[in-house]
Amino acid sequence: MDEELTDGYHEPCPQCLSVDWGVSDAGQFFCRFCHNVIERVLLYEDAELLSTSSRVSSLSRASIKKRRELHRNWIVIEGFQFVLLHQAEALVSMGVCSQFKDDILYNFWKRYLQATNQAYTRAPLCYGEVEAVSDFTSESECPSELSFQSEPSLRGRRKRTASGSSGSVVSSGSMDGSSYSKRKSGDFMTMPRTLALCYLALLWVREGITLSDLLRFASEKHLPYINVHEYFPEEMTVFGRDCQYFKVESIPSYSHVHKDILKLARIMKLPAFPPVTPDCLLHPSLLSLRYLVELNLPDELHHWLCKVIKQANMAEQALLTFDYSKRPIGTSHFSYDLQACALIIVTMKLLFRLDDSKEWKLSKIADFADPDAKQYSLAFWHTTMHKALVLARKREKLHTANQQWKSSKPFILSERNKSVFLKRRRVVEYLQTRFQKLSGQAVETEPTKPSSFIFLWGDGEDSDGPSLHCQKLDCNLKKRRQTQLCANKKYWHPLLRPCNPTVCGDHFAEVEPTLPRMYVWLLDLFSFLLRVSSSLMHEEVLKVERRFFKGQAVQGTNKRTTKIKQNGKPKKK
C-alpha cells in the first residue's frame, strides 16, 4: 500500500541514500531501510476516501498501466541492431565513408539474420512467445531498414505482439531473452560479434581501420561497446535475462574477435572481398609505413621493407584479399596489422640482426659518425622508444584503473532486488562525486579525440621524443658495385618448422628465455601497440620468415645470386 502512497516521491533518503519509502500511521514518510523519518508528510485530500480499498486498487492499476505504456515488446536481435546502429554511427562520425553504414553493414546484418534463420526467412526460428517473426519478410517496413536510418523504428510492427507478454512471468525485458542463447547452433549474436561484423564491413569498404584499432576505440569508448544499453530507447527495458547479452565486463581479446570474424564469414557465406590494392591503406606496404611513423623509425627502412614484402610474396592479391571460402580451415589466421608489424620486425632483423650484439656495434658506428649526417642509431632509438613505452604503459595503466564499467543505468537482474541495485548505484555515484569534489577534479574531463597513433614524435611539448624519421641508414649499409647491401651479413631465426596447432599449442613461453633480449623487447613493443600477446606477435614473425625464406629459395634456384647456407640454427644470408 505504501508504494502507491509514496509513488511520486523518489528522492533518496538523506541518511542511507535508498529510495524505499514507507508511510507511518501518522502519515509521515520514513525510510524503510534505515528507519529515518523525514519531514515530508502524506497529505490526505479526503481521509475517508483513503480508508476504502477501492481507491487503493484504482491507484495501483493506474500505475501498472503507466508502466506498461512505457514498456514495449522487443526481441534480442533488435537490441543488437541498436548496438550496431550506434557503432556504425560512431564510425561514420570518425570519418568512415557513409556507404559503410547504409549499405555494407546493413546488408551484412541482413545476410547474417537470414543465414541464421533469425529473420528475412519464410521459416524463422521460433523464440518463446514470438510467433510472427516472418512478418519481417513480408512487411515492407522491416525494422532493420528503418532503424538504420532513424531511431524511432519500432513503431510499425509493434502492434502485432502488443499482448505478447501480458499475464506471463516476466524474467526478461525482451520477449525472447530467456530463450535466445539456448539455441543449439551457436551462431547467435554476441557483443564481440558486433565488433566482428563492424570489422567485416570496414574491410569490405577497405577502410584503414585495423582490428586492433577497433578494439582500442571500443576500450576508449569512442565506439559504443561498454554499457550499450544506455543508448537504447526508453521503451526497451533491458532486464533480467537480457543482461547476459548486453552486459559487457571486458573488451574481447584480439584473437577472440578474430575467431568471431572468421566464424561470421563462414555463417554468412561471404563472397570474396574487394581486393586490397597497393593504394589501399590495408596493403602491407602502406600499413607498415603507418607503424614506422608510429614507432619513430626512419623512413628509409620502408625501402627495405618493400624488398622484404616482394621477396616474401606478401603483396600477392590472393593472399591479401579476404576470402574465407578459399582458405582452408587450418590456415585461417590472417590479420593485416599483425602482418605489417611482423614485416617491420623481420626487416629490422635483416638490417640490425638483433642478436644483442651486432645492433649495438652498428649503433656505435652511427654514434661516432658526423652528427650532421643524421645517422640512425638503434641504441638511441631504443632509449627514446623505451622511455616513451614506459610512459605509455603508465598512461595505459592509469586508464585501466580509471575505466568505468558500470552504467548509470544499472542492469537489473531481478525485480526483487531492483531497489538494491538502484540504491547501490546511487551510493556509488554519490561517493564518486564526493571524492571528486574532494580532489578538486574537473567533473567533466574533455573527451579525447580518437587517434590511430599512441605516440607523438617531434618537438612539441607533449611529444614523446625527437622525431627520427629523416635519419639515414648509411652506417648500416655497404656499397658494392653501386648497389647497397646490408652491413649485417647474418640472419638468425628460431626453428621454422610449423607444428600442428591441434596437437601442441604455444611454444613462446618455452623459447622466450633463449631469444635475444632486443628481439623480445621489440615483440613486447609491438604487442603493446596492437594489444595482443607477445606470443601471437612472435608467431606472426615466424610466418613471415617462412614465406620470406620460401621466396628466397625460389629466387635462389632461379638466379643463383644468393646462397643460403644452413648450418644448424643461424642462417647466413
Binding site: 584503473a401 571524492f435 628465455p513
Partner: protein, 473 residues
C-alpha cells in the same frame, strides 16, 4: 571478547584528551583481548586479508625486459580475468602505491574510480570492496588536505549503509573519529543510533560489537560529564550547566553499571565510573564496584583490577592491612609490578620480623626480572631490608638463590654493563654482595677496571649514566 587495554596502558589521571586518545589508540592497535576494531588500516593487513596481488611497479625492471615467468603467468591469466576486475585490481594497486607515497590527492582521485567495485556481481567481492573502501577511504580522508568533517560524516554514513554486515563496526569507527576530533556529543549520538540499529538476527560477532558499543556509549557520556565538570570548576557556578552535568552522570552511571555487570576487561570504563562516583562522594559504591571488578570470579583475572582497588584505597587512607592484602594478591599475579617497591615500603614500615622477611622475598623476586635488574632503587631497598633484618636472617634466602644470582647479577659482564650505566648501581650491588660472600672478586674487579677507564676518559660516562638513570625512573 572484551574491550580494554593491556596492563599498563590505562591513564590513571583521567585527562580528557589523552584519555580518549589512549583508549582509542588501544583499540586501533588491536588490544590483546579486545575485539577487532580498527579505524586505521594497515596495508599489510589488507593485503593479507584480501589476498590482493600487488606487483611492485617501481622496481625498474618491471618495465624493462619482461621475465619469462611473469610473462607466462600474465598470458595465462589474461583470458580469465574480466576487464572490470582488471580495472579494479589495477586501481587498488595504484591507490596502494599512492598511499604508501603519501600522495593523497592522487589516491582520492583513484578512490573515486574504485567505487564501482561496490557494484561487483559477486557477493564476496562486494563485501571485500565495502571493507576496503571503508578502510582506505577513511585513511585517505584523514590525510587529505581538503577533507572536512562533513566529508567524513557523509562517507561513514553512506558506506555503513551499503551492506548491513559492517554497520556496527563502521558506526563504532565513526564515533571514534568524532571522539578524536572532539565532537563528543555527535559521537554519543552516533553510538546511540548504532545501539538502536537492528536488521534481522544478530550474529555473535554483532552481539559482541553491540556490547562494546554500549560500553563506549557510557564512556562517552562520562567524557562529556568530565568536560562539563572541568568547565564548571573553571567558571562561576551555574545551576543550568550543573544540572546538565548531573544528568550526564546519571546516564553514564546507568550505562556503565550495566556494562560492568558483564564479565570482561573493562579497565577504562571502571576508572571513569569510579571517578564519577568519587566526585559525588559515593565512596562505598565505588569501592564495591572496584571490589566486584577485582574479586568477582566470573571476570577474567586482571591485575589492573587490583591496582585500581589499591590506588582507590590509598587515596582514601584505608587501613594498611587492607592495602597489604591487595598488594599481596597483586604480587602473586605480577611479581614484577612497579607497585612492589611500595609494597616493600609498607612492609618495612610495620617493622615486624615476618613482614621484613616477606619484603626480602618480594624484592629479591623483583630483581630477578630483566627490567628491574639494574634498578638502583630496588637494590637500595634490598640493602635497607637486609640492614633491618640482619645478615643472619638473610642467609637462608641467599643460599637458595646464590647460584642463580651470581650468574644473573654478579658476573664480570654485568659489572661492565653496570659500571657504564651508573656508578651508584655498582656501589649498591657491591654493598649487598660483600657481607654475604667472601672471596668473590669477579664482579668487583671488573667494575673497578671500567671505573678506572672511565675516569681517564673524563666525565662523559657519568653524564650518560645520569641521563639513562633519569629515563629509568
Amino acid at each position: 571478547m572484551q574491550p580494554g587495554g593491556s596492563v599498563d596502558s590505562v591513564p590513571l589521571d583521567a585527562d580528557v584528551s589523552t584519555g580518549v586518545e589512549e583508549t582509542a589508540s588501544n583499540e586501533k592497535g588491536g588490544s590483546v583481548n579486545g575485539p577487532e576494531i580498527r579505524s586505521t588500516c594497515n596495508m599489510d593487513d589488507i593485503e593479507a586479508e584480501f589476498h590482493c596481488h600487488v606487483v611492485d611497479e617501481n622496481n625498474e625492471d618491471y618495465y624493462n625486459k619482461p621475465d619469462p615467468i611473469r610473462c607466462k603467468r600474465y598470458n595465462a591469466q589474461m583470458p580469465k580475468e574480466s576487464g572490470f576486475r582488471r580495472s579494479t585490481s589495477t586501481c587498488l594497486e595504484l591507490i596502494r602505491n599512492a598511499m604508501l607515497r603519501h600522495r593523497w590527492q592522487e589516491a582520492a582521485e583513484l578512490m573515486s574510480s574504485y567505487m564501482q567495485m561496490l557494484e561487483d556481481t559477486s557477493v564476496s567481492k562486494q563485501l571485500m570492496a565495502c571493507e576496503i573502501i571503508w578502510r582506505l577511504g577513511t585513511e585517505i580522508l584523514q590525510h587529505h588536505p581538503n577533507a572536512k568533517q562533513e566529508d567524513f560524516d557523509m562517507f561513514y554514513q553512506s558506506i555503513k549503509n551499503v551492506r548491513v554486515n559492517n554497520y556496527l563496526k563502521i558506526s563504532l569507527d565513526h564515533s571514534f573519529h568524532l571522539m578524536l576530533t572532539g565532537h563528543m556529543e555527535d559521537a554519543c549520538r552516533q553510538l546511540s543510533n548504532a545501539q538502536n540499529w537492528r536488521y534481522g538476527n544478530l550474529s555473535s560477532v554483532q552481539l559482541n560489537l553491540k556490547k562494546v558499543i554500549h560500553a563506549y556509549c557510557g564512556y562517552l557520556q562520562y567524557l562529556i560529564w568530565y568536560s562539563k565538570k572541568s568547565k564548571a570548576s573553571g567558571a562561576e557556578n551555574d545551576s543550568g550547566s550543573d544540572h546538565e552535568m548531573h544528568s550526564y552522570f546519571r546516564q553514564a552511571s546507568v550505562t556503565l553499571q550495566e556494562v560492568l555487570e558483564q564479565p570482561g576487561v573493562w579497565d577504562p570504563f571502571v576508572l571513569s565510573y569510579v571517578e564519577m562516583l568519587e566526585f559525588y562522594n559515593d565512596l562505598e559504591k565505588a569501592e564495591s564496584v572496584l571490589k566486584n571488578y577485582a574479586y568477582n570470579e566470573r571476570f577474567p583475572v586482571n591485575p589492573n583490577a587490583y591496582v585500581y582497588l589499591y590506588e582507590f584505597l590509598k587515596r582514601h587512607d584505608a587501613p594498611q592491612n587492607k592495602q597489604l592484602e591487595i598488594l599481596k594478591i597483586l604480587q602473586t599475579l605480577v611479581p614484577s609490578h612497579e607497585l612492589m617497591l611500595e609494597y616493600c615500603n609498607i612492609l618495612l614500615g610495620t617493622g615486624l620480623h615476618d613482614d621484613l622477611r616477606k619484603a626480602l622475598t618480594v624484592v629479591m623476586d623483583l630483581l630477578e626480572y630483566t627490567s628491574w635488574k639494574q634498578n638502583v632503587d630496588a637494590w637500595e631497598h634490598l640493602n635497607e631490608i637486609m640492614e633491618h633484618l640482619g645478615n643472619g636472617h638473610c642467609l637462608g634466602e641467599w643460599e637458595s638463590r646464590k647460584n642463580l644470582w651470581l650468574s644473573l647479577h654478579f658476573t664480570s659482564y654485568h659489572a661492565r654493563k653496570d659500571a657504564i650505566l651508573s656508578v651508584k648501581l655498582v656501589d649498591v650491588k657491591i654493598k649487598f654482595l660483600t657481607p654475604l660472600i667472601k672471596n668473590y672478586q669477579e664482579y668487583t674487579t671488573a667494575a673497578y677496571r671500567v671505573k678506572k677507564r672511565k675516569g681517564k676518559n673524563g666525565s662523559q660516562g657519568y653524564k650518560a649514566s645520569a641521563n639513562t638513570g633519569k629515563k629509568k625512573k
